[in-house]
Symmetry: C2
């Protein structure tokens, strides 16, 4: 998606450890008009008429998932992050290792709100190694829902999470895939048909 | 707002300690159409043409704040919750005591994204004692922004946070104010002109 790639090139900052900082428009200050454009792009890519629920993980996935769900005319569920001890009953859950925070957490979704009859589109802002998204896929499988697809705004292609999902044959799409960060900080985007 | 009151009456559950659980439409599974209706109501109540930024706190305020900001045509910032130690520089911050979790946390907003020229509308899903919202007001004051108003979906009127802000003369509005939880679980709403 050209609009998103241009914005990443213009405002994204590369921090040590190849962290791509886009907190001016995606995950701290949120450009809601850009997110609405991303939602329209997902609507073109996925068959959203079949989607009954958008699923994401708190906190930074929520803005994009909310706007997508509103544009698709469906509700949105955000999986909550809990410490891995002391989880109540009545929950779908999946344990996730966070590379960012170097600790385990558990994604939880109340069984009350996700049903076998649901057909889910997973939406998240970022894909790196893909652990959080895999946690959401686990929850969809535990709930025995349909999985219509997985839509990501920015994929760090060089960290392998997106390619692992593509290799599994999942309907996975990212709007901007960064394949390489050059030594001078230039970002190299993957050419992809969406 | 009748639509919201009706939904709370129909689906809200009262848990021990007068906790009002509305996680089927507001803060876990999110009814994006209802939130869009709340955004339209805020647009009627506040002069959103003067608002340049919607501000909320992660995580449960984000869905409503995102939809409001998108409908008002402005960006949204969500203050992040950090542990109170080890906060970096370059941040507006406010320490908040959480009654729910019985611990202190710090709300942080990067100085890069909030400026004196901004005129802020604070949006949150819930108002009880009002500590989180007071933290957001502190950040607005620290940033020397304008504060156009404070819009809340559901206020627990009997916990005093909303009335404290009204007493200060702030442009504070809640779409549904629960004044009392009867012994049989019936909710008594405040009659208010919005």
């Amino acid at each position: 998606m050209q609009l998103l790639q241009d914005r990443i090139k213009k405002e994204g900052k590369v921090l040590p450890g190849n962290i791509i900082k886009v907190d001016g428009f995606l995950n701290h200050r949120v450009d809601t008009a850009l997110l609405a454009a991303c939602a329209e792009e997902f609507k073109r890519i996925f068959d959203t008429s079949k989607v009954t629920m958008v699923l994401t993980a708190e906190a930074s996935g929520i803005p994009l998932a909310t706007i997508c769900a509103e544009k698709f005319g469906v509700p949105m569920i955000f999986a909550k992050k809990a410490k891995s001890d002391n989880i109540e009953n009545g929950l779908f859950k999946s344990e996730v290792w966070s590379y960012t925070y170097k600790k385990k957490f558990t994604l939880i979704v109340s069984k009350e709100w996700l049903h076998e009859s649901d057909n889910v589109l997973i939406i998240d802002d970022f894909m790196a190694k893909g652990n959080a998204v895999q946690g959401l896929i686990d929850i969809v499988q535990e709930a025995k829902c349909g999985l219509e697809g997985i839509g990501i705004a920015i994929e760090k292609g060089f960290q392998g999470g997106g390619d692992a999902l593509r290799a599994k044959g999942l309907n996975y799409k990212a709007l901007a895939v960064i394949d390489e960060v050059m030594e001078d900080g230039t970002l190299v985007f993957r050419k992809e048909d969406l």
